[in-house]
C-alpha cells in the first residue's frame, strides 16, 4: 500500500517510470478480465488502452478511496460494459441483415486461450453479463463480494446470488460439451 501511494505521488508529478511500473503490475490481469468479459481479445486490448490513457490524463485530480487495483478494475468493467452494449446491439442488427457473422468464433481468438480456457471463456460468454461480471471480478480480479457490491451499487446478497446462479449455468453448459 505504501509502495502504491509512493507510485501515485510520483505519477502526479509526471513520472513516466511510475506509470510504467503501474502498467506492468496490472496489465495482464486487467487484460484477462476485459477479455473474459468481452470474449474478444482485440476489444479487450482497446479497453486496456482506453483505461490507461484516461487514467494518465486524469491523474492530476485523482483521489483514490480504495486501492489502485480496484480503481483500475472498475474502470475496465465500465469500459467493457460500454463496448459489450454497443457490440451486442450492432452485431444483432448486422446478423439480422445477413451481412456478417458473429466474431465469437474467430480463429485469432481461439489461438489466444488454450483449449480448456477456450471452453471456459466460450461458456462465460453464454451467461448473462451481470453474472459473468461477478464471477470474473471475484475469481480473476480477486475482489471480495462486498467490494463488488460496493462497486456495482447493489446488495451483497445480490452479488452472491449472481455468482451462484452464474456458476451453476457454467456447470450446465460445460456438462453438455
Amino acid at each position: 500500500m505504501l509502495e502504491e501511494r509512493r507510485l501515485i505521488g510520483e505519477l502526479k508529478r509526471g513520472d513516466k517510470e511510475a506509470l510504467r511500473q503501474i502498467y506492468m503490475e496490472h496489465k495482464d490481469n486487467l487484460l484477462t478480465i476485459a477479455a473474459s468479459l468481452l470474449h474478444d481479445p482485440h476489444a479487450a486490448e482497446d479497453v486496456l488502452h482506453d483505461v490507461f490513457v484516461s487514467f494518465a490524463a486524469a491523474v492530476g485530480g485523482l483521489q483514490l478511496r480504495g486501492g489502485l487495483k480496484n480503481y483500475l478494475v472498475a474502470s475496465v468493467v465500465n469500459r467493457a460494459r460500454d463496448v459489450f452494449r454497443k457490440k451486442r446491439h450492432h452485431l444483432v442488427e448486422l446478423e439480422q441483415a445477413g451481412q456478417v457473422a458473429s466474431d465469437s468464433d474467430g480463429p485469432e481468438r481461439l489461438a489466444v486461450f488454450g483449449e480448456e480456457s477456450r471452453l471456459l471463456t466460450d461458456a462465460l460468454a453464454q451467461i448473462p453479463m451481470e453474472q459473468r461480471e461477478t464471477i470474473v471480478l471475484h475469481l480473476t480480479g480477486g475482489m471480495k463480494f462486498k467490494e463488488i457490491a460496493r462497486m456495482q451499487g447493489i446488495a451483497i446478497s445480490t452479488v452472491q446470488g449472481r455468482y451462484r446462479y452464474g456458476l451453476e449455468k457454467l456447470r450446465m453448459i460445460l456438462r453438455d460439451r
Partner: protein, 303 residues
C-alpha cells in the same frame, strides 16, 4: 471440468499476456496523456469542487497563490475575448478538441465538394463522402466495433468489412490528406520559415461572420529542388472559440508570381445527433426495426 470447484479454479487461473507492441502503444499514449493530466490536474479539481469550497480554499490560500490564480483567470479571460489573436497552435488545438466536425473540401471555382468528412469523437466514427451524383460513395468507419460500412449509391448496396490495424493506419493518412484544413499534423510540424499573420479584412473577398482571417505562409519542396514552391493557407478563425470555419489554399512557384487559389474547405460543427441522423439517413433503418438505426455508435451520454 464440471464441478463448481474445478470451474472456479480454472477461471482463477485464466491468464492473458499483453503483446509487446500493445505495451508500447499503450505506454506511449498514456505517457503523452500523463503530461496533459499533470498540467491540468489542479484546474480540474478546481472545477470539480463547489463554489463554496473554492471560496474557502482561496481565502485560506497564500497570497502568492491567489495572485497566480488571478493572473490565470485574466489570461483565460483574454483568450476568450474577441480580438485576442490566437497562434496557429491554439487554432490547431481548438479544432482537435472539437467533438463533432464536418469538413467539406472544394476545388477553387466549384460549387460541388469533392469530399466531405464527418468526424465524431464522442461516437468515435468517421464518415466519408466522395464522388458526385450516381457515383457517390459513403464510407462509415465505426471504431468501437471496428467495422467499416461502404454504401454505393449507384447500386444502392452496402458492403461491410472488419477494420484491420493496417486499414486504420491508412485511414489516418487519408484523413489527414483529405481534410485540407491544416497543412501540418500539429503545431510542432510548422516549418521555421513559416509566417503566421493576421490579414486585413478589407483585403479578403470572402466574408465569414464572426471570424478573423490569418495567413500561414511557408516554403514547400517544389517539383524541382532548386525551385521550391511557396504555399499559403488562409484560415478564417472564430473570434471567440478560435475554431476554424474556412480554409483556403494557395500556391505559387516563383516569389514574384501571384498566388493561385487551389482549394477551399468549409468547416461546421454539427451535434452528435445530427451525425447519427445523417448515418441513419445514409445507411437506412433496419427493415425489421424501422425506428432503430442500423448504426448505433457510442452515444456520449452513456459515458
Amino acid at each position: 471440468m464440471n464441478s463448481p470447484d474445478h470451474i472456479e479454479r480454472a477461471i482463477a487461473q485464466l491468464h492473458l499476456r499483453t503483446r509487446a507492441e500493445t505495451d508500447r502503444r499503450i505506454l506511449d499514449d498514456a505517457s503523452a496523456a500523463l503530461q496533459g493530466g499533470v498540467q491540468k490536474g489542479p484546474l480540474e479539481v478546481g472545477f470539480d469542487i463547489g463554489v463554496w469550497r473554492t471560496a474557502l480554499t482561496i481565502r485560506m490560500a497564500k497570497p502568492a497563490l491567489v495572485a497566480a490564480a488571478i493572473l490565470v483567470a485574466i489570461a483565460l479571460l483574454l483568450r476568450v475575448l474577441p480580438g485576442a489573436q490566437p497562434t496557429i497552435g491554439e487554432v490547431h488545438r481548438a479544432f482537435a478538441k472539437a467533438e463533432n466536425t464536418c469538413v467539406t473540401t472544394f476545388q477553387a471555382g466549384k460549387t460541388e465538394p469533392f469530399q466531405q468528412l464527418w468526424t465524431s469523437q464522442t461516437l468515435n466514427v468517421k464518415l466519408f463522402k466522395v464522388g458526385a451524383g450516381n457515383q457517390t460513395q459513403f464510407a462509415l468507419w465505426d471504431m468501437p466495433i471496428r467495422v467499416k460500412m461502404t454504401k454505393f449509391l449507384a447500386s444502392d448496396s452496402v458492403q461491410t468489412e472488419a477494420i484491420t490495424d493496417q486499414m486504420l493506419a491508412e485511414l489516418d493518412k487519408s484523413a489527414a490528406q483529405s481534410v485540407r484544413l491544416f497543412p501540418f499534423s500539429d503545431a510542432n510540424g510548422v516549418p521555421e520559415d513559416a509566417q503566421w499573420s493576421a490579414v486585413d479584412q478589407s483585403q479578403v473577398a470572402t466574408r465569414v461572420p464572426e471570424t478573423k482571417v490569418y495567413d500561414l505562409a511557408w516554403t514547400a519542396a517544389g517539383a524541382a529542388p532548386e525551385a521550391p514552391a511557396r504555399r499559403k493557407c488562409r484560415l478564417f478563425v472564430d473570434i471567440r472559440t478560435h475554431l476554424p470555419k474556412r480554409a483556403e489554399w494557395y500556391a505559387k512557384s516563383r516569389p514574384e508570381d501571384e498566388y493561385t487559389f487551389e482549394t477551399f474547405t468549409l468547416v461546421s460543427y454539427p451535434s452528435e445527433s445530427e451525425i447519427q441522423d445523417l448515418i441513419r439517413a445514409t445507411f437506412g433503418p433496419h427493415p425489421g426495426q424501422p425506428d432503430e438505426p442500423e448504426y448505433i455508435g457510442t452515444p456520449g451520454t452513456e459515458r
